[in-house]
Symmetry: C2
Subunit: 222 residues, 2 copies
Amino acid sequence: MDPDPKMRPPASRAGRPRKSEQRASARERLLEAAHQVMSERSSIDVSVQEIATRAELNVALINYYFGGKDGLLLELAVMHQSRYEAILQHLLDSPQTAEMKFRAHIRGMVRAFRRVPYLQRLHHKILRGSSEESATEVGARLVRPLGEFYRKLIEQGVADGTLRRVDPMHVYLTIVGACDMLYSGSASLRFGFDVDQVDDAISEAYAEYLAKAVLRGLAAQA
Amino acid sequence: MDPDPKMRPPASRAGRPRKSEQRASARERLLEAAHQVMSERSSIDVSVQEIATRAELNVALINYYFGGKDGLLLELAVMHQSRYEAILQHLLDSPQTAEMKFRAHIRGMVRAFRRVPYLQRLHHKILRGSSEESATEVGARLVRPLGEFYRKLIEQGVADGTLRRVDPMHVYLTIVGACDMLYSGSASLRFGFDVDQVDDAISEAYAEYLAKAVLRGLAAQA
């Protein structure tokens, strides 16, 4: 998901691609460049020119390959979660209590946001500002599976006696909101908490806290 | 904070103000128009033209009164939380356990986001994209007091035996993230949970859930 920058193919001169391998490579370089710029900035407010400059390619190629910036962002959103449903299903099917599955899921979510810190804001932008078709694709591929996952996991936890009955939407809002806030709100941390940069240690400590706090909130026994 | 639209002063023709009362009123109408448009859209991606059109005033007045869109947004952010520090201090000073204060605070936070759903994203935008001066103002007036509030409340709860010792930053991230997500993520709810619009009932049910879940997470006894 985050290839080493040194592994990227050598940059060609800005301009149109000349061979089919270069076309494939240019397409990937634009996706990777957008990912890099948005991750560094922890923001999706980047221009097509910034993306093209980072990729060392002509900005017109973004229209050529993706039909524009929105198309590129949609492809990035879907690409980053291509194995998403399978991972959730695998966890659902595993032989553990619902409580243990929730714990593993929350830790995984914090790590996923560390890899793709802008992902939630990208979803929101597509759900709100893009075509109905794009919104439906993101909704069906990324939101619905997570909602279903929480619904099934709570059912299981009520049945196996580890969880209390709660609204899956409330669980969705609190977990995704808490994960996203570590990055969408990262600029606020230096004012309130003297944290200039979210690093691995902060992410891991937060995952630990969040898993424990959420599971205490969901536990069958008060 | 959300005056009845029927209470607004009658619209004058678009153009420059002619009297000092009209100047004062035009300034307020621009602030109120920005608040309305961003609340309806649950997004801060609005243009100065949309704000001016809603206020039925000339777009040039945004520069005249606020020095531009960023100035208007900064004023709105500070205006909406002018009593913020006092409210937090009042709660800190009240004769209740830390657990009870946290519960009241969380319910108040969910209601505050219902009144000003875009506020957190506005903070982030100012903290990240505006001048160092604006960022410092928002940081000092809005982030630092909340961080201090959590720090003191946890200290009090550890002392009065109602709360366990946790990192105030983790509490800040989870509470603010969970509150913001109800609005920043509202467009996702129709896909996962068949919710088209966040209304008072949804906000109240969420406040109830969040207060209970967070307090169970923070309680001294597991």
